[in-house]
């Protein structure tokens, strides 16, 4: 048994458990922390897959920024006596059944499909040279092949920024 195999299965199981705790925790703050745990474990899995840049970005952006944002929102919208009330609405049972059904369907479909590795000539985003590290490859691809989406993403982020500021500001008295 390889070390990476064991690590992977450990991280996978733990992440699922943490995810369950995210959606069932009574205290929203605890749920946010569990989410942070889940996302970090996923970053580990990315590392195991050899997607180093993605793993780092996951930690920086998701765990570092988005979780913080969520915690801020939790704090800003905290209500007194919140933790005493149940956090799940009355759709819990139908939702559980539906999602379980969905999982079964997905599992059946995924397991029965023949996953065939693609021929290598069809992908334009291939590593420019075999000897480069993942970071270098990602950087060069991002700024050559994907330069347009890259610039557009900047625009989207800017729009989101302006929008969020506008929506969340206090009304001028």
């Amino acid at each position: 048994m390889h070390l990476s195999t064991a690590v992977f299965y450990f991280c996978a199981a733990l992440s699922v458990l943490c995810a369950v705790r995210v959606v069932t925790a009574r205290n929203v703050f605890h749920a946010a922390l569990y989410l942070a745990m889940t996302l970090t474990l996923l970053a580990v899995i990315y590392l195991l897959l050899g997607a180093e840049f993605v793993a780092v970005v996951q930690v920086l952006v998701y765990v570092g920024a988005v979780i913080v944002l969520i915690i801020f929102a939790v704090m800003l919208t905290a209500q007194i006596g919140d933790s005493s009330v149940a956090q799940t609405n009355r759709l819990a049972l139908p939702a559980a059944l539906a999602t379980a059904a969905l999982f079964l369907v997905l599992q059946k479909a995924l397991l029965s499909a023949p996953w065939v590795p693609a021929a290598s000539t069809t992908d334009v985003s291939g590593a420019p040279a075999p000897g480069l590290s993942n970071l270098q490859s990602v950087g060069m691809t991002l700024l050559n092949v994907y330069v347009y989406p890259f610039e557009l993403t900047a625009l989207i982020l800017f729009t989101a920024l302006v929008g969020a500021v506008l929506i969340a500001r206090k009304d001028q008295e």
């Binding site: 992440s15 699922v16 989410l35 990315y46 897959l49 989406p149 989101a160 969020a164």
Partner: protein, 105 residues
């Protein structure tokens, strides 16, 4: 490529995370809780993308590029969504979703 782990296990992991996230979206009373479930769903998709990239398109990077972009967009979306939640909280003094039912017929 992780030795000893077939692709299907990654896919099952992502399916599980997705379903859990969906359950959270449908069930949580707190609006922020819904957004957390949503983040879980995004991440499940990202797992899929990276796994496919590693196992099926070994020399290429398209899955990872896709993942980078979705992380970015998901962050932007979380921003705006939380801004909305805060704004609604200010208007209604409550983030409970059952109180936001103006479209009730």
């Amino acid at each position: 490529m992780i030795p000893g782990v077939p692709l299907q296990d990654f896919l099952l992991l992502s399916a599980a995370l997705f379903c859990v996230g969906l359950y959270g979206v449908v069930t949580r009373r707190n609006a922020v809780g819904v957004l957390m479930g949503l983040e879980l769903m995004f991440n499940a998709a990202n797992i899929n993308l990276v796994a496919f990239n590693t196992y099926l398109h070994a020399g290429a990077l398209s899955g990872q590029m896709f993942t980078l972009f979705t992380i970015t967009i998901a962050a932007a979306e979380a921003t705006v969504g939380l801004a909305l939640v805060v704004s609604i909280f200010r208007a209604r003094r409550s983030v409970r979703l059952e109180h936001v039912d103006l479209l009730k017929g």
